[in-house]
Symmetry: C2
């Protein structure tokens, strides 16, 4: 403990508002064996939008034989485009998927890159630099089509890898710069396997921000070892203001029963609103949606604490414009 | 997101080492209906000490009819005193309990005070200022006995209360100062009901440190709404380096099935060690103990993620002197 006479450190900087990008329909549902009916997914998107969520990753343009759970992504994207003010994104592994995203007029497409060479080869069957080259081709295709779809390069396994172990921050930052050079409009950092701690997050995001500025778009954390929200708080303190999350914390790893997945959307929104960071989301409405999603996914492992504990008496629900 | 040209904020201050005070035998077990046999509690204390834990709250000197689960506190205190270097504390609600702690040569006794008047009257049947007066009597008794038992005043419901709602920070700090004036050697702040967020923690602990300096001894957080570790991280950043926690996160509220209790010891130690904050604890040994405690408490709701997820490949186990 420091002496009281030590110079006071400045108060944490917290952004006045932050965005939670809902990725439950993609990162969540792709990790669950069952396929949620398209009607339920549409209802999820509709209700999330009604509750105030304005950024939703609706699915992934991968071959249906690989992820049958996400085979209806084109239909969901078309539906999302009908909702006013909704910024709809999709994940694409390659140029072919990107062409479908551009054709469907996605607001943004996310190209995942794994900074771990071992993980990249195992999951994407490409080296990280081959993914960078693919982003260059996607950018050329986007520009040739006169499309306004933004391109995000998502640098995964940015804090370590279950296959390879350590991933050097220098390599993460080199690949982030390479993505920008290849034409990515946005970049993000993901703790794909739940290895990050708040000190690592602070260090790497500070360096990444110095490189990418406002093009550093999003933080993606998993709660595998209980540090998801602590990691978000550490990133907030260095000015990051957009985070991926899954309603009810769905996702996790199909090979590790009970393992936590992405940060839980409603718990993250609670933390933000409790601290006075505006989110634009009506949390009570969103909890009602969580209840419906939990019914649809009956039997799956769900996460989250707010739905069970309820709001503190001291909690002031954020006022959200209707 | 700030511009890259914005002046860099300083890196988080993290203390080089931190202490996790094990309170599972008191705050944890008092919330569980069953009584753990004394032999198991002794084994818990012995193994926690062997794993490197050096501060353990072994029980509470309250009437056995109120908390039969803790009726063996005197015996456990005597046992703890036989373990080299172990700093053994007990909780006491009043002078009578303090006299037993002094008689048993506890290294420290914790007197809980609730900053919420409503909570104080409901749980302690005293106003907060009556508790302050009792601490004055405890200090006089301690000094009269020539005892070296330290007195800690623990200010609970410091972030709000389930009965009364808001608790003014000014009232929390006034009571903290009053405890020091009455003779407390140490003070601590507790989020008794899980209402705190990291921004609140940072603000209140910074102000409290300015008042109490090194006598601000400990942070006590519950994980009721998933923010336990984020709150610890926020407190670490303002120089707090001692935290209460329960092995396997036992505790919670007997009236809210499934509700989380104290911050989980092993997850907290993992966060600290991962960030390079030394703890002195062999985490693998402690996980083995967790397994035994989980067997003893079979059927109770336990918390924690590390025991299930395992260590990251990148995790360097802290080297602990044998």
């Amino acid at each position: 403990m420091t002496e009281p006479s030590a110079p006071a450190r400045p108060h944490a900087f917290l952004p006045p508002r932050a965005t939670v990008r809902e990725v439950g329909l993609r990162d969540g549902l792709q990790s669950i064996a069952r396929t949620l009916p398209t009607a339920h997914k549409r209802e999820w998107i509709r209700a999330a939008h009604a509750a105030g969520q304005r950024e939703i990753e609706v699915g992934s343009f991968v071959p249906a034989r690989l992820l049958p759970q996400l085979a209806d992504t084109a239909e969901l994207l078309a539906f999302a485009k009908t909702l006013p003010g909704l910024f709809a994104s999709v994940l694409v592994p390659n140029l072919k998927g990107a062409e479908r995203a551009i054709e469907g007029e996605a607001d943004l497409l996310v190209v995942p890159l794994s900074a771990s060479h071992a993980h990249s080869l195992a999951n994407l069957r490409k080296t990280p630099d081959e993914v960078v080259a693919e982003v260059g081709r996607i950018r050329a295709a986007r520009d040739a089509a006169g499309s306004r779809t933004l391109i995000e390069g998502g640098v995964g396994t940015a804090f370590g890898c279950t296959l390879q172990g350590p991933v050097a921050p220098e390599e993460v930052l080199r690949l982030m710069q390479a993505l920008l050079d290849a034409g990515a409009d946005r970049v993000s950092l993901a703790d794909t396997v739940g290895y990050a701690d708040p000190a690592m997050v602070r260090r790497l995001f500070e360096r990444a921000r110095a490189i990418a500025g406002e093009r550093l778009w999003c933080g993606h954390f998993h709660d595998t070892r209980g540090l998801g929200l602590a990691n978000v708080y550490a990133a907030l303190e260095v000015g990051i203001a957009r985070f991926d999350a899954c309603l009810a914390g769905i996702g996790g790893c199909p090979h590790a029963p009970g393992a936590s997945g992405n940060v839980d959307t409603e718990d993250l929104l609670f933390m933000l609103q409790s601290m006075g960071v505006a989110t634009g989301v009506d949390l009570r409405q969103l909890l009602a949606l969580r209840g419906r999603v939990a019914q649809w996914l009956d039997g799956e492992t769900l996460q989250g604490t707010l739905w069970r504990a309820g709001f503190p008496k001291t909690f002031a629900q954020e006022e959200v414009a209707a």
